[in-house]
């Protein structure tokens, strides 16, 4: 055999071996891919399914703080309701709501669970709606897969891959801000499977959890200065859009209306109890503050794998975000929980109350001299 133009036997054998190996490898890879593909649906199908009945805010449905067992598929259903909604004694809006409340209800799952939401838009409504979960990945948060016209429903499943509290809101094309500031937003809490942790990694638990959804409304006024009332939801669109573009809300409220979390509906706690306050603002910045208390552990932007800030006075939640704060009450009495732009709190409605019972701690605070003549 000559050496030029001829493949050496070794090279030939190596080449054939290579081709063979490649073919073999390809076959193996294809087989693995098929197995994997076959595995994913099979794995999901084998997961435990849990059906959750949602509860109106500020309360939260029953849940485990530390996950029991492995990842689950957690089924929720939300029905969209367009309705007249009183924001204050002298102001009402056409609200767009998940499950009839402003904000929509808080959902709770664990990291690694699948959220399966059935979204129903009854034909008593006039508008198309959808849902964007800030906790989800892809398809505009699910918005592209859940567009439902009146008379339709859709089911979305997404994997809760990130731990934290996250906003969800309606986001139909061409009308996104209008729906959001008409009340169509809420939040979901994705707890770490082994529970909340302080910066040192110690377990944190709560005795009570409250969900405060803060809502900015832009209600147009008529020529006499009174808030406009509209016959149907379609009628309010143009005026509301104009008021929205001024960027100054007419009302900023907790749980849907001025004073909703006060009086008989003030949030309750006892001295010694640890309370988790989940606070969402789907559109506008806010800065929660507990007057008379603190945030012992605060996830201001709401993500539980970021170690919480401690000993917080006031924390900043950017518009489009949910935050969470943990506090153990140490004194009895009445507390105000506010957006600490105090104009927004006391003039526009962004305030709620805690009513706390228990023993007074004189060491923490005492009146040395009650107000007396100088």
């Amino acid at each position: 055999m000559t050496e030029q133009g001829k493949l050496s036997r070794r090279a030939l054998f190596a080449g054939v071996a290579a081709i063979g190996a490649t073919a073999q490898l390809t076959a193996m890879l294809n087989a693995t891919a098929q197995e994997l593909a076959a595995e994913a649906p099979a794995a999901i199908d084998s997961l435990e399914r849990v059906k959750v009945e949602l509860v109106a805010p500020p309360f939260v449905h029953a849940h485990d703080q530390i996950a029991k067992g492995g990842p689950k598929i957690v089924e929720f259903t939300m029905t969209i309701e367009e309705k007249r909604h009183e924001v204050a004694d002298d102001a009402e809006v056409w609200a767009m709501t998940f499950n009839g409340s402003v904000p929509g209800p808080l959902m709770v799952v664990h990291e690694g669970d699948y959220v399966e939401l059935t979204l129903v838009n009854p034909d008593t409504n006039l508008m198309p709606h959808n849902i964007d979960f800030h906790a989800a990945t892809g398809a505009l948060g699910g918005g592209a897969l859940t567009n439902v016209n009146p008379g339709e429903k859709a089911i979305l499943r997404f994997k809760a891959t990130r731990a934290g509290v996250f906003v969800y809101h309606c986001a139909p094309e061409g009308m996104v801000p209008w729906h959001v500031v008409s009340g169509m937003n809420g939040a979901i809490m994705v707890l770490p499977r082994d529970g909340l942790r302080d910066p040192k990694g110690n377990l944190l638990t709560y005795d009570r959890v409250y969900y405060v959804g803060e809502q900015d409304f832009y209600i147009p006024k008529d020529e006499t200065g009174a808030y406009q009332v509209y016959e149907s939801i379609a009628d309010c669109h143009a005026d509301t859009l104009e008021t929205m573009r001024g960027l100054i809300p007419s009302h900023i409220v907790f749980n849907g209306r001025v004073g909703a979390l006060t009086g008989d509906n003030a949030l309750k706690a006892n001295v010694g109890e640890t309370v988790l306050i989940v606070h969402s603002q789907a559109n506008r910045d806010t800065r929660p503050h507990l007057i008379g208390g603190h945030g012992d552990f605060v996830w201001a932007t709401g993500k539980f794998h970021t170690p919480p800030d401690v000993d917080q006075e006031t924390w900043f939640i950017p518009g489009g975000t949910a935050g969470a704060a943990l506090y153990t009450f140490r004194q009895p009495g009445v507390y105000a929980y506010v957006n600490h732009n105090l104009i927004e709190a006391f003039e526009l409605g962004a305030a709620g109350h805690f009513v706390v019972e228990g023993d007074w701690n004189d060491d923490l605070m005492t009146a040395v001299l009650a107000p007396s003549p100088i």
């Binding site: 004694d89 004073g259 006060t262 009086g263 008989d264 003030a266 007057i291 004194q331 009895p332 009495g333 009445v334 105000a336 006391f346 003039e347 305030a351 109350h353 009513v355 706390v356 019972e357 228990g358 023993d359 007074w360 004189d362 005492t366 009146a367 040395v368 001299l369 009650a370 107000p371 007396s372 003549p373």
Partner: protein
């Protein structure tokens, strides 16, 4: 010198007292004369009710302290010495507007709410005093805001004793705050803010209308802080006259310049629905004199 020419000094000596007597008699005649013989006053006097002197059980106004502990104010026996003449109705929006167009009163703010012959609302303590001064000039009588005590006397069964009846625990100031809060929550449930035409809230046993309706009425009484000892004797009293007492469904203390208590939002607590007022007519001197003689 003739018998008829009296010395000037003597004439002067008689002239002064004689003139004074004539003037005094003239003044008495002027005030006692029926209105028909007097030139028109220019403004119809408001309808009033006159109550005889008497005594009421009365929850003292102000914030009371025993040491560092706030306590309920004591209940006192309060005597009203003279007949009390008080407006049957609150000052109406129309009457207040007359004062405004005369330039003697500032406009109500927010603009008086409600439809029909409604009471003046959106008025502060200063506005009420300005109106009283204007009405006095127009009617020739002396009109003032009632004291808290006079209002309570006139209100009779409609007067609300808003003591909490709490036994205070000096080690736990929060108990009173929580009790106050629950009381406020009760009031919030009953809130009905739109002013209604005069008379809508009915009359009490004294024939006075709209007491303890949804309009709180300014009084002349200053808010105060009182320190007492264990026996209830007053150790110190500090009036705060930039804060005045209002009466209605419950007693309220509001800064004198506030016209709309609703937006003067406290961190906690329910403010009055509307701020308005009615006036008392001070009896002229001769009536007081006759009253002293039991006439």
């Amino acid at each position: 010198m003739t018998a008829l020419a009296l010395p000037f000094k003597e004439i002067a000596g008689i002239a002064l007292p004689a003139t004074l007597l004539a003037v005094a008699l003239g003044a008495v005649a002027w005030q006692v004369l029926p209105p028909i013989f007097r030139p028109a006053a220019g403004f119809p006097a408001p309808e009033t009710v006159t109550l005889p002197p008497g005594e009421i059980a009365y929850r003292a106004e102000g914030q009371f302290f025993f040491g560092t502990t706030p306590i309920d104010a004591p209940k006192l026996a309060a005597r009203i010495e003279a007949p009390l003449t008080i407006m049957k109705y609150q000052v109406s929006a129309a009457d207040y507007a007359a004062c405004v167009s005369d330039g003697a009163c500032r406009p109500a703010a927010p603009a008086t709410l409600g439809v029909g012959d409604v009471p003046a609302t959106g008025v502060n303590f200063q506005d009420a005093e300005d109106y009283a001064g204007w009405l006095s000039a127009r009617t020739g009588a002396v009109w003032t805001l009632p004291t808290d005590r006079q209002w309570a006397y006139a209100a009779g069964s409609r007067y609300a004793d808003d003591a909490l009846g709490l036994v205070d625990d000096p080690t736990n100031p929060a108990l009173r705050w929580l009790a106050d809060y629950r009381e406020e929550a009760n009031r919030l449930r009953a809130a009905d803010p739109m002013p209604r035409p005069l008379g809508s809230f009915g009359e009490n046993e004294n024939g006075i209308a709209d007491l303890a309706g949804n309009v709180w009425e300014w009084t002349d009484t200053c808010h105060r802080r009182v320190h007492v000892d264990a026996a209830g004797a007053v150790l110190s009293e500090q009036p705060a006259c930039t804060v005045r007492v209002l009466e209605g469904k419950h007693r309220a203390s509001v800064s004198y310049f506030i016209r709309d208590a609703r937006s003067g939002g406290c961190s906690v607590g329910v403010p009055p629905d509307n701020l308005g007022f009615r006036l008392v007519r001070q009896p002229p001197w001769h009536e007081r004199l006759l009253a002293r003689f039991g006439l």
